[in-house]
Symmetry: C2
Subunit: 537 residues, 2 copies
C-alpha cells in the first residue's frame, strides 16, 4: 500500500521537556492565571528550560560503523529522549536536574535494524530503552543507575506505516512506531479505525500502547489494547518471531499476552496485526447529574452490569466536574455515550438514562450525534472532552508555577470501590496538605467501568515548596500507593509500571509469575540490556 499520508503535526515543534507541542503550551500569563487557582504557588512561572543549559556530556560510546546512519548523538535528540512526561520528569527538567541522558538515540527503519542494534548493544553492554512517543508517566523510558556503560534510546517512530489491510477480517498490519493520528489517517480511507484514543493519543505509539497494555477509548467492555491484538511481531536479543493471525486460539498460553505489558523488557514489538472497527455512524450522548457521589457509583455499577455497553461511561466527582466545566454546582456528573456502526443507539441511551434516574440522577435531554458531529458531542460531554485533552498542558503550566500536580489511577472490584475512593480522598488529601502546608485539591473520576469493578483516576494539585516539589510528590505518591495496596487495588490500570511503580508491582505480582517472568527475561535478554529496572531485575 503506497504511503502518501503526511505526518500529522509534522510542521509543529514537539517540546523536549513538557507535554505535546510547544505552540500549545500555556504562556506565562496563562500560567499565572492557573497558579492563582492554587493558594501558595509562585508569583512568576519558572523559566522554560533550554537544552543548552543542561550539562550533556559527550557520549561514552560510538556506534558500530554499520549502524552509524541510524544513530544520533545530537544534544537535542538526547535531551528529548532522557525522560517521559510525568510530573516528575517535567519538574526535573524545570529544575535542571534531568536523569541520566542517553548517550545515543537510534531510529531504526525496520526489524533488521532493531535486531542489529540489539546485537551490538548486547556485545557492548549498552542498555537499550525502547521509546515510542515518549509519553510515559511512570519513568518507563529513562535509564536509572549506572550498571551499564552506556545507554541507547531506541526510538521506533520511523517505523510508522500501515503495511497491509485485510478488509474481510477488518484488520491491519501496522508498524509499532506509528503515533495515534498517523495510524488513524492511514486507516481512514478504508473506512476503518482502531478506535484507541488514550489521552496521549497524539503523542503515543501503537508499540507503546501494546507494551504498556493501554486502556483505551471504550469505557466498558473490551477497551484494553490487548483485546484488539490479532498477532504480534517481536524482536528480542535471542531472535525474532511473529505469532499467527488468529481470531481466537486455545493453543497453549497466549504468546502475545506475555509480550503485552512487558514494557520493553523482553523484546521490542515492531509490528502488530490489529483488529479494527468500522467508523461509528450512530452516536448519542448525555450527561446525568447526581447530588450524591455514592449513589452515582451505584448507578454506574448498574449500567456496567447491564448489557448496554456504553462507549463512554465516565463519572466525574464534583471537583472533576467543576475543573472540566461539566458542572459548577457541586454535582457529580456521569457522561454517557453510545456509538454503533450498525444501528441507532438512542434507545440504548434512553435505557441507560432510566437506570441512572432510578439512582437519583437528573439528566439533560440526550443528543443524537451524526458521524460528522462524531467525536465532539455536546454540552457537558464536549466540555469534558476538550478539558481532557488540554489537561496535561495545564499540568505543565501549574508545574511552572511550582505546584505539585499529578494523576494516578487504579482499578478494583466493586465491593472495594467506595471505601477505596473515600480512603484515597482522605489520606492522600491529608498527606498532600501535610507535606506542603497548603490546601490540596483531590479530584476523582472513573475512566473505565466493568461488570466486576471500575478504574478510578485521581488528580492531586497542591502548591509545592520551591525546590522540594519532587520530594513532596514522592511522599504523596508513597501514601497513595500504600492506600491502593491496602485496598488491593492495582498499582496501574493504564499507566504501566515503569520505574515509578516497581515497588507496588513487586507486591502485587504473584510469586510464581515473578519466577516465570525472571526466567523468561533471562532466556530472551541474556545480556540484560532491555529497559533495565522495569518490571524485573
Amino acid at each position: 500500500m503506497p504511503a502518501t499520508t503526511t505526518r500529522p503535526g509534522a510542521s509543529r515543534t514537539r517540546s523536549w521537556w513538557g507535554w505535546g507541542y510547544v505552540d500549545s503550551h500555556p504562556d506565562d500569563a496563562e500560567c499565572i492565571s492557573l497558579g492563582a487557582l492554587l493558594p501558595g504557588t509562585l508569583a512568576r512561572p519558572l523559566p522554560i528550560p533550554r537544552v543548552a543549559d543542561l550539562s550533556i556530556g559527550r557520549p561514552v560510546i560510538t556506534p558500530a560503523p554499520a549502524l552509524a546512519h541510524l544513530v544520533t548523538a545530537a544534544p537535542e535528540a538526547r535531551a528529548a529522549h532522557a525522560m517521559g512526561k510525568a510530573y516528575r520528569d517535567v519538574m526535573r527538567a524545570l529544575r535542571g536536574r534531568p536523569g541520566r541522558i542517553p548517550d545515543l538515540v537510534a531510529r531504526p527503519a525496520g526489524d533488521q535494524d532493531v535486531a542489529d542494534l540489539l546485537e551490538w548493544a548486547g556485545e557492548q553492554g549498552v542498555a537499550v530503552v525502547p521509546f515510542g512517543g515518549g509519553s510515559s508517566v511512570v519513568g518507563g523510558v529513562e535509564y536509572r543507575g549506572d550498571a551499564h556503560r552506556a545507554v541507547l534510546s531506541l526510538d521506533l517512530t520511523a517505523m510508522d506505516r500501515v503495511l497491509e489491510i485485510d478488509a474481510d477480517s477488518r484488520a491491519a498490519r501496522i508498524q509499532a512506531g506509528a503515533l495515534g493520528p498517523l495510524l488513524e489517517d492511514q486507516l481512514r480511507p478504508h473506512g476503518l479505525t482502531l478506535r484507541h484514543f488514550p489521552q496521549s493519543f497524539e503523542f503515543s505509539t501503537l508499540g507503546g500502547w501494546l507494551a504498556t497494555r493501554a486502556g483505551g477509548h471504550y469505557a466498558t467492555g473490551r477497551t484494553h489494547i490487548d483485546d484488539f491484538v490479532q498477532s504480534l511481531r517481536v524482536v528480542t536479543p535471542a531472535g525474532a518471531g511473529t505469532s499467527w493471525r488468529l481470531p481466537g486460539s486455545g493453543a497453549g498460553p497466549s504468546p502475545d499476552r506475555l509480550f503485552l505489558g512487558s514494557e520493553g523488557t523482553l523484546g521490542v514489538i515492531t509490528e502488530a496485526w490489529m483488529r479494527l472497527q468500522e467508523r461509528p455512524r450512530h452516536k448519542a450522548s448525555a450527561s446525568v447529574a447526581f447530588a450524591d457521589f455514592h449513589r452515582a457509583l451505584e448507578a454506574v455499577r448498574a449500567i456496567a452490569q447491564s448489557d448496554l455497553a456504553p462507549a463512554n461511561c465516565r463519572l466525574l466527582d464534583p471537583g472533576e466536574a467543576a475543573m472540566s466545566g461539566a458542572s459548577q454546582d457541586g454535582s457529580t456528573v456521569l457522561v454517557l455515550g453510545f456509538e454503533s456502526a450498525t444501528a441507532p443507539v438512542g434507545s440504548l441511551l434512553a435505557t441507560a438514562l432510566d437506570l441512572a434516574r432510578s439512582y437519583g440522577g437528573r439528566s439533560e435531554e440526550p443528543t443524537d450525534g451524526s458521524d460528522a458531529a462524531a467525536d465532539g458531542a455536546d454540552g457537558a460531554v464536549s466540555a469534558w472532552r476538550s478539558a481532557f485533552l488540554r489537561m496535561p498542558y495545564l499540568r505543565d503550566g501549574l508545574a511552572r508555577m511550582g505546584a505539585v500536580v499529578e494523576t494516578f489511577e487504579t482499578a478494583a472490584t466493586w465491593d472495594r470501590i467506595p471505601a477505596l475512593i473515600d480512603a484515597v480522598r482522605t489520606e492522600v488529601g491529608a498527606a498532600a496538605a501535610k507535606a506542603t502546608g497548603h490546601p490540596a485539591t483531590l479530584n476523582c473520576r472513573l475512566t473505565h467501568v466493568y461488570p466486576d469493578g471500575a478504574a478510578p483516576y485521581f488528580t492531586v494539585a497542591v502548591a509545592g515548596r520551591p525546590g522540594d516539589e519532587i520530594a513532596i510528590w514522592d511522599d504523596i505518591k508513597a501514601v497513595a500507593n500504600d492506600v491502593l495496596h491496602r485496598h488491593r487495588a492495582t498499582i496501574t490500570h493504564h499507566h504501566a509500571v515503569g520505574r515509578d511503580h516497581r515497588s507496588g508491582y513487586d507486591r502485587q505480582r504473584p510469586e510464581p509469575f515473578a519466577l516465570a517472568l525472571r526466567a523468561a527475561k533471562g532466556a530472551l535478554d541474556p545480556h540484560h540490556i532491555l529497559n533495565p529496572g522495569v518490571l524485573i531485575d
Copy 2:
C-alpha cells in the same frame, strides 16, 4: 457458605472407557443402527471393554505414609485415569490397548494436599498428570513414554466447592475441581451463572476449562474462559501464588494469562475467582436456511461484524444440519440466538434476520423464549442442541461398530475461512476414503464467530479396517493438520494441545515465546514432573 448441594449425577455410573454415563451409552441395537449409516462398518459391535481384562500391574511406587489417605491404587480408578475421551482413547480401550496406566490416583482435598503431593513426586521423580473431568480429546491427561519411574494421576474433583460469592462484583471464588453442573447448582441460588457450557459441560471442570483455555457458550464476543477470570490460584512445585482480584490491570504482562492454557505443565490451578452473569431473562432464537454455504458464510461474517452480538450464531453445513435434524433438504442452516438479563432481544434478532435475508437466507418465524424455556429453544435450534449433547455418545457407538469417527476444530481469519473449509472438505475427505476404501462423511459447522474470523469444527466418519482404526485416524489427522498449517489456521481453538497436537503447536508457536515458556517451565517445575510431553519438553 454451607455446601449442601448434592453432586449431580452422583447416583449414576461414569464410564471408565467411553463418554459420560454408562446408562446413556447406546445399546448394541442402537450401535447396529448407527453402523448402518456408514457403509463398511462391522456387523456386530465390539464388546464393551472391562477393567478386569486389562493387564494392570501393581504400582511401582507407594505413596509416603502421610499422603496415603489421599491416594488409591485400585485398578478401576487407575483405568479410569489412564486416558481422556478422544476417539483414539475409546478405540484403544475397545481394542484392549490403553496407554500406560498410572500407578496411583490421588484426590487432594485442598491446596496443601496438592503442594505435598507435588513435593513428594518431585523428590521421587514421579510424573504428575493433573486430571479434572478427564474429558480431554487431545491426549492431555495420560502419560506417554518411560522417562519417569512412576505416574500419579492428580484428580482434582474432590475440590469442587464455590467458596465465596461477591454479589456486588458478580464474582465467585470456585475450586478448580468443580464439574459444570455442580458449579452452576451452587451459583443458582444467588441468581448468578458462569454461563460456560462446552459440549463436555457435565464431565469437565473449571480447572480443566482454565488450563485448556476452553471456548464456551457464547458464539460471539467474549466466550473463551480466559475472559471470565478475575484471579487465579496456582500451586507449583516452586511455590503457590494467587493473583489479585482485579477487573482490569495494566501492571506488567497478565500473570493469569501465562497459566491459562498451560495444560498442567507449569502448575496446578486450584481455585479461581470467576466473573459471573445474571441469568438471562430475555431470549429469542431462530434458524435461517441458505441454499449456498458460501453465501451463508458471508451472512455470518456480516452478523459477526455488526454490533448485534448474538449468544448463538452457529452455522451448520448441509451434512451437519441433516445429522442434527435441523434440516434434511440439503440446506445450510444458521442457528441464531440472543439473550439478555437487561432488555428484550427481539429487535436484535429481527435485525440479524434482516441481515441474513440480505445474503439469501430464508428464516422461520423467530421464537421468543422465556427464562423457563431457557436453554431449550424450538425447532431446528432445539434439535441441534439435543444432538450436540448426544454426539459423543453416538461417536462411541460408532466406534464400537469399527468406524473411525472424530472431530477436530480450528480458527482462522475471515480472509482464509472459505478456502480453508473447502480444502479440509476436499483433502481430508479424500484422505479418509483413501485410507479405508470406504466413502467418508465430512461435516462442518462454525462454533464461534468473531469480527475477524471464525472457528470451524469438522466431523469425520468412515468405516475403518478392523484393528487398524487408530492408525487410520492418525493418517487422516496428519492430513488435517497439514491443511490447517498450510492455511495458517490454529491447531486448536478449544480442544487444547495435549499430546496429540504437539507437532502442530510446535510449528505454530513463535520461537521467542517457546524460549520463554521453556524457561518458565524450568523455573516452576525444576524436576520436570508436571504433565510431561504436553506443550514443552
